[in-house]
């Protein structure tokens, strides 16, 4: 019943938050306020743009003179000077005030927020939930404040959810925070907005907003992949979730890292001149100590997955590799 109410409610909310000409849908609690401030500035801007440009164009036509015309009389008007100094100043104070209060609202997470850890790495996001589940897309319950605690493993990234009007840089060596409360279920895009290199524009993900009940069942499902899937399926899911496919392909084309097509049993030439056959131990070493045996022709850029992939995960990935003929 709860679900029914929630979905009815969400439909109502959805109906009211279509994308407009300027904005994506309003899908978080702060979105409406931010859009309001935006439109407040927008209409002030429209007013002054029209005023200034119309006056300028009119003066250019109206006062156009022959070259022989005598120079015009100088004018001065202190009251006018004061007016156009004070009026913009007052408007600026208002805009500043609204901007400030809006910022405070969007930067003060409620105490009971649901916490998700976020890791940015070239060029994928990893979302870690309180129970240790990891996913490459962000799943959150609707109508519940969510706090993202974020860090980067390499360069600066920035997590931007346009529908929630929220954005925060993700910086290596420190934690930054971002919070939101989704107001409707559905899927919304996540962009990386701090330039981070080759595939910056492909560092996309999505936030999936579930009802409370759907979220619980998703989390339970996502947490035990090894129980509900075959090792091959689990391996396929893991390489997708952990961002491996940002650098490795399964179709034979070369990317930042070697392709996995036909990898199993292949003899790889390494950058130190030696060669190695791809077997269980090589895959394991490459995941845990990526810099130890780098395939010739590729840079030593892969991050380690020590502590992030369990033995069982690696076994599943190995099983998956065996299927990539």
């Amino acid at each position: 019943m709860n679900t029914l109410v929630a979905s009815l409610l969400s439909q109502l909310v959805t109906a009211g938050s279509e994308a407009t000409y300027w904005f994506p849908p309003q899908a978080s609690t702060v979105a409406a306020e931010i859009d309001w401030i935006y439109y407040f500035i927008y209409w002030i801007s429209v007013f002054f743009t029209v005023l200034i440009l119309a006056a300028g164009a009119w003066f250019m036509i109206k006062f156009r003179s022959a070259k022989t015309a005598p120079a015009a009389e100088a004018g001065h008007n202190t009251a006018l000077e004061v007016t156009w100094t004070v009026v913009p100043a007052i408007l600026c104070v208002f805009i500043f005030y609204f901007g400030l209060t809006g910022y405070m609202d969007t930067h003060t997470p409620p105490d009971d927020s649901y916490v998700v850890n976020v890791t940015g790495v070239k060029w994928a996001w990893a979302f870690t939930y309180p129970d240790g589940t990891v996913s490459d897309t962000l799943h959150v319950p609707v109508h519940r404040p969510v706090r993202l605690v974020m860090s980067s493993e390499d360069v600066i990234h920035s997590l931007f959810i346009p529908a929630f009007r929220t954005k925060q840089d993700v910086v290596p060596g420190r934690y930054t925070e971002e919070w939101f409360e989704a107001t409707e279920t559905g899927e919304f895009v996540i962009f990386c907005t701090e330039y981070c290199g080759t595939k910056h524009s492909e560092m996309l993900s999505k936030v999936v907003v579930h009802t409370e009940a759907e979220f619980s069942s998703w989390l339970a499902q996502a947490g035990n992949i090894h129980e509900r899937m075959s090792p091959v399926e689990a391996g396929e899911l893991l390489v997708k979730q952990r961002g491996c496919l940002q650098c490795h392909t399964v179709d034979g084309s070369t990317s930042t890292g070697p392709s996995w097509k036909g990898i199993w049993g292949r003899s790889e030439k390494l950058s130190d001149g030696s060669s190695v056959t791809v077997d269980e131990n090589y895959v394991r070493t490459s995941i845990l100590q990526p810099q130890a045996q780098v395939v010739a022709g590729f840079g030593p850029v892969m991050p380690t997955f020590q502590g992030k992939l369990k033995d069982r995960d690696i076994t599943a990935i190995i099983e998956y590799f065996k299927t990539l003929k």
């Binding site: 860090s151 060596g173 420190r174 380690t304 020590q306």
Partner: protein, 284 residues
């Protein structure tokens, strides 16, 4: 760079009667005033140039006071103090050379310039000794930071200590690569802190814990003193040029602008060191 503001005083492209007066100036006074304002602007620019490093110093010192507290004890206060005295002397002779030029005391002026140059070389010599010692002791920036002794423990048996500590260092290295997984995503810097601590135990010194990221202190130390050193070198070049012109007899009571401006520059270089010395050597 530093001589640029004084360039016009060669003034050889004018058509005026005074060979030192450039064509676009009305009077020698105007020319001198322009040069003076120019060199002051240059000095303002220099101060802002250094201010970036002073800001970096302030940020790291306020965020990590323990690093500065710990690492400054590696520095040799005696050598730093001697260098301070040397630079102050050179500043005095630089100022004196201007006075001598104004009064037409040619020999005194040349003498002062020579002493200034000698002091500048002396400063660099002492700095070289300090740098060499730090290179030898592994007191360097970034990943190269690998001290062979605890602070204050330098000086004795350096020859003997070196290979011994090196072995210890490589032990630490192995230790690092073996356990990256222990550190979290953000704990990478920790591995650099690990090596000195291990080193000291292996070398049998008194037990000392090196704060995390102590290498930052030496990054800042080398950046600041290195940039200052480059300015000293630039000053030496300027003063050698002045000496050459002085020997040719180009300076006199009416023609001393270049000496005046160079002295202003030299005072700034001195002043920067007077800030650097306490900030780096005399913490607490």
């Amino acid at each position: 760079m530093s001589t640029a503001a004084a360039h016009d005083h060669q003034g050889d492209h004018g058509h005026g009667h005074d060979p030192h007066l450039a064509h676009h100036f009305d009077s020698p006074q105007q020319q001198f005033d322009s040069g003076k304002l120019g060199i002051w602007l240059f000095l303002v620019q220099e101060i802002l140039f250094f201010s970036g490093l002073f800001c970096a110093y302030a940020v790291y010192r306020s965020n990590h006071p323990e690093i500065f507290e710990f690492a400054h004890r590696y520095l040799d206060v005696t050598l730093g103090a001697v260098n301070t005295v040397v630079l102050i002397c050179s500043s005095l002779t630089a100022a004196w050379s201007v006075r001598a030029a104004q009064l037409g005391q040619r020999k005194l002026m040349i003498g002062c310039i020579v002493v200034t140059i000698a002091c500048a070389f002396g400063f660099l010599g002492i700095k070289y000794v300090e740098y060499q010692h730090k290179f030898h002791e592994g007191l360097l920036w970034g990943e190269k930071f690998n001290p062979k002794h605890a602070p204050g423990g330098h000086g004795e048996e350096t020859g003997h200590g070196a290979p011994h500590s090196e072995a210890a260092g490589s032990t630490a290295q192995v230790d690092n690569t073996g356990s990256p997984g222990d550190h979290g995503a953000t704990a990478q810097p920790e591995k650099h802190a690990a090596s000195p601590a291990v080193t000291h135990e292996a070398a049998g010194d008194a037990k000392v814990t090196t704060p995390r990221n102590t290498s930052i202190f030496f990054s800042i130390y080398f950046a600041m003193t290195g940039l200052h050193g480059l300015h000293v070198i630039a000053g030496i070049i300027v003063y050698i040029w002045l000496l050459w012109r002085a020997l040719k007899g180009e300076f006199g009571p009416k023609q001393y602008a270049a000496i005046d401006f160079a002295a202003l520059y030299w005072h700034l270089v001195d002043l920067v060191w007077i800030y650097l010395f306490p900030l780096l050597y005399l913490i607490r």
